[in-house]
């Protein structure tokens, strides 16, 4: 088990190293921030050269990369081009908002998605099952931007029962968390349904029924645990995605999270911010995948062997 974890951690470091090189090169391919930052009034060569020197872009590319890498190892991703603040501080400022929204969205997705999936499987081909499937399809197909705007208009502007923006109180979480959760909820529901159907058809469940165990006990105690294994994996990876920031939801609900930070960084050619945000994002993925793998082993003892 420990060997497995150690190998995964080493793999994670190598993955991060490759990502660091890729993100470094990708940001340089998108253009020269010195040119972007100069106003129309200041496009002379002297202004340009001064700006490049200030940003450290006058150094050879390899040297820039090693400076970035050396800093990243120490948790220092440089300073934001836009406001000269350490990017680490910017990330830490935005992280709580993203964590709150991601966890609220994930909790909502699991609390609604899992029971719906299980009940759909148990009540296979019933009206409940059909409505559930429709809900899932809509959740996957409807664009987040459109759903978010429609919900804001309906519950905020027309019914006036929920706030349209901000994150002052618990009620502020409802709309953005739901929009964020819907597609994941739909995935969990469909995965839960198919997984549960498979488990319900298995021999040990049939045996439990033959033994005369009540249906509730068969489903919720014996079948559910095995049906949850693929949901666990899916939820883990989905959570990692949410932790990376939900650009659309954060933009629409004026939620100051990592997604908006990254979007602004890209639009402003703010290399240090984009690099830091991508590295943080990659780290979240790798860490979450590792945790999911470990939990997977505990959830399914067969994997240990």
């Amino acid at each position: 088990m420990w060997q497995f974890i150690a190998i995964r951690i080493i793999q994670g470091f190598f993955t991060l190293l490759v990502i660091s090189l890729l993100v470094f090169l990708a940001t340089r391919l998108t253009g020269d921030p010195a040119l972007v930052l100069l106003p129309p009034e200041a496009s002379g060569k002297a202004d340009y050269e001064r700006m490049r020197k200030q940003l450290g872009l006058d150094k050879p590319l390899a040297e820039q990369y090693f400076i970035f890498l050396r800093g990243a190892v120490q948790g220092d991703f440089g300073v934001s081009i836009r406001d000269r603040r350490p990017t680490r501080d910017l990330l830490l400022e935005r992280l709580p908002a993203t964590l709150q929204l991601a966890l609220a969205g994930m909790a909502l997705a699991i609390l609604i998605g899992v029971p719906l999936g299980i009940l759909s499987a148990v009540k296979r081909d019933s009206a409940f099952d059909k409505v559930g499937k429709l809900f899932a399809v809509l959740g996957m197909a409807a664009p987040q931007f459109w759903v978010a705007i429609m919900l804001i208009l309906l519950f905020g502007a027309i019914l006036k029962v929920l706030p349209t923006y901000g994150r002052e109180g618990p009620e502020n979480f409802i709309l953005p968390a739901f929009v964020l959760a819907w597609s994941i909820m739909a995935g969990i529901m469909r995965l839960g349904r198919s997984s549960m159907l498979e488990v319900l058809d298995s021999d040990y469940v049939r045996f439990a029924r033959i033994k005369g165990l009540p249906d509730g006990m068969v489903v919720w105690k014996h079948a559910l645990r095995n049906a949850l294994i693929p949901i666990l994996t899916f939820s883990g990876i989905s959570l990692a995605g949410l932790l990376n920031g939900a650009i659309v939801v954060e933009q629409v609900f004026a939620w100051p999270g990592l997604g908006r930070l990254m979007l602004d960084g890209v639009l402003q050619r703010n290399f240090p911010v984009v690099q830091a945000a991508v590295m943080a994002s990659a780290s979240f993925y790798i860490l979450t995948a590792l945790i999911v793998d470990i939990l997977y082993v505990y959830a399914d003892p067969r994997i240990r062997h």
């Binding site: 253009g31 040119l35 972007v36 496009s43 400022e93 100051p256």
Partner: protein, 560 residues
């Protein structure tokens, strides 16, 4: 209650992450306005009398105002870009104030006068001003601020290229008396007062409290800033909220707001801002023409800030002989072929835009006169000019690329570019491709000279004093991506106008220069647009100023 209960349950796990990321901190009259400065020796500006008794009553009430962009969220004068003015303008006192007629009026300075060679500005600081912590504003604060903003350190430490450029031409800053100082430049700076006024963009003209600032350092100050403006900062949640409370001891009581709290919110998506206005969650929103019906359907209305941006058609690189646009007649033909009135009326409407002025020289700007208005629509003349230069019916002209982007502050730029292209095809017979890109990319390609010989259709902020942009585009011998020193005759025209430092002569000097520069047609435009603010029913009235982007004159806002 039900909603709160559900949300509270969902939040149980998320709250384990800690509290929200709150970083709470307590803590010239006509169309050619004449600035109040003078050439020495001369009469000086008339100061606005310092109040003997400051307003202390609690005005009550709260206004929630939503912006789309805040830029850096820093409060230090050398670290401002355009959008910094959205919040900085409310908290800080400016060296020089402005008014609705785009005049410069005494602010922290009671007088400002320039030497006859235009190099030195003598500034007199007002008595009786206090910062939000109660400390009086002294000559030490004034010197410190000027040094911080335009001293040698600012050349490398400022995040604003405009301030860097200004600082690099500042020779000295020194006290000349108990309440006066002198700023000396290496070349004449007639537009210096404008640059440090609240009519300008950004916050280059705001005052810092020396002792308070030094005790905290730049980062500490930006975490808990104070100023001497009409509002003091109550709370700042980065990228989310800037909560300001009325400052009872503000030194200009006639400019004290009529309400107690100004709640600034950063909401990037316009649809959300409109929904918030309709829901009553916001009182004033940064809007655009595309959402006018939605605002009005929801019980709101538009208030227009006049002449906020101009629509700019640039012909970069046309000083190079290999391009057809090297010939002035070709450039003029392109202008004659465009029906500017049609574009402005059909796309924007008379409330939102007007086909007047020449680029940044809008009707309220320094140097404007009606003979700077756009060329008339004259397809026959356009065809003739093109034929005379060897391109009859567009033959041999090649394909002209028009580059543009979707601008947040000026809607329909891509549509405008398409209409322009269509008029060029129809009236001149030339092939035109419209390429809608992303703002940063187009700007980058422009500055990198990749768009030479092509056309850029973009928007830009208006300004009363176009001295700095005239200097950058025509007066800089180095040129860069602009014409600069490629035409000695135009360089001289620009330099001659910029050398005029007597405020009473600048209107005419700039007007004369602009007429010549306009005739050359390295750039022209379709007109200017007004900035719409969506306001809700709680706002009885508000009179934002013209020619200044971002919210101005908050004290004129009256609540129902």
């Amino acid at each position: 209650m039900l909603w709160s209960g559900i949300a509270a349950t969902l939040l149980a796990a998320s709250l384990a992450c800690g509290a929200p990321a709150e970083d709470a901190k307590t803590t010239a009259t006509t169309d050619t306005a004449a600035p109040a400065a003078t050439v020495v020796p001369a009469t000086t500006a008339q100061p606005t009398a310092a109040p003997t008794v400051a307003l202390t009553t609690d005005a009550g009430g709260k206004v929630t105002l939503m912006n789309a962009v805040w830029a850096t969220e820093l409060f230090t004068p050398r670290d401002g870009v355009g959008e910094t003015a959205t919040y900085g303008r409310q908290m800080h006192a400016f060296w020089i104030n402005g008014n609705e007629n785009v005049q410069m009026l005494p602010g922290v300075l009671t007088e400002w006068a320039v030497s006859s060679d235009g190099l030195a500005w003598d500034l007199t600081v007002r008595d009786g001003i206090t910062f939000h912590n109660g400390d009086p504003l002294t000559i030490d604060d004034a010197l410190f601020t000027m040094e911080f903003t335009f001293g040698p350190e600012a050349v490398t430490e400022s995040i604003s290229p405009s301030i860097q450029a200004e600082a690099s031409e500042t020779a000295s800053i020194a006290a000349t008396g108990p309440n006066s100082l002198r700023v000396t430049h290496t070349s004449p700076k007639a537009f210096f007062p404008f640059f440090i006024s609240e009519l300008s963009f950004g916050i280059a003209g705001v005052l810092l409290p020396k002792n308070y600032f030094e005790s905290l350092g730049p980062a500490g100050y930006n975490d808990a800033p104070i100023g001497a403006g009409p509002f003091r900062l109550e709370k700042h949640v980065k990228s989310e909220q800037i909560l300001l409370e009325r400052y009872a001891d503000y030194f200009l009581p006639e400019r004290s707001p009529s309400f107690q709290t100004l709640d600034l919110r950063l909401v990037p998506e316009v649809a959300t801002r409109v929904a918030a206005l309709r829901a009553g969650d916001a009182d004033v929103i940064e809007a655009n023409l595309a959402v006018k019906d939605q605002v009005e359907d929801g019980g709101g209305r538009f208030i227009w800030a006049q002449e906020s941006s101009y629509m700019w058609i640039l012909l970069p690189g046309c000083w190079e002989v290999q391009f057809p646009c090297n010939k002035k007649e070709v450039r003029q033909a392109l202008d004659y072929a465009i029906d500017k009135e049609l574009i402005v009326n059909q796309l924007y409407g008379p409330e939102a835009a007007a086909s007047q002025g020449w680029n940044w020289v809008t009707p309220n700007a320094l140097g404007y006169s009606s003979d700077l208005d756009p060329f008339p629509h004259d397809p026959e003349k356009a065809q003739q000019l093109l034929a005379d230069t060897g391109y009859p019916n567009g033959d041999g002209f090649g394909t002209l690329e028009v580059h543009t982007w979707k601008a947040g502050d000026v809607p329909f730029l891509p549509e405008q570019a398409q209409l322009i292209a269509d008029m060029w095809r129809r009236n001149l017979g030339i092939d035109v491709d419209v390429i809608v890109g992303e703002a940063a990319t187009v700007r980058e390609r422009w500055f990198d000279r990749q768009l030479d010989g092509k056309v850029i259709v973009r928007a830009n902020e208006t300004r009363w004093d176009g001295g700095s942009i005239t200097n950058a585009i025509y007066g800089n011998p180095e040129g860069g991506a602009h014409l600069g020193g490629r035409r000695d005759d135009l360089l001289k025209v620009a330099k001659d106008a910029l050398a005029v430092v007597d405020p009473t002569l600048r209107q005419q000097a700039f007007n004369d220069a602009y007429k010549i520069l306009r005739e050359e047609h390295y750039e022209f435009g379709t007109g200017y647009v007004n900035l719409p603010w969506g306001v809700g029913p709680r706002i009885a009235s508000w009179e934002p100023w013209p020619v200044v982007a971002y919210q101005t004159a908050i004290w004129t806002m009256q609540l129902n």
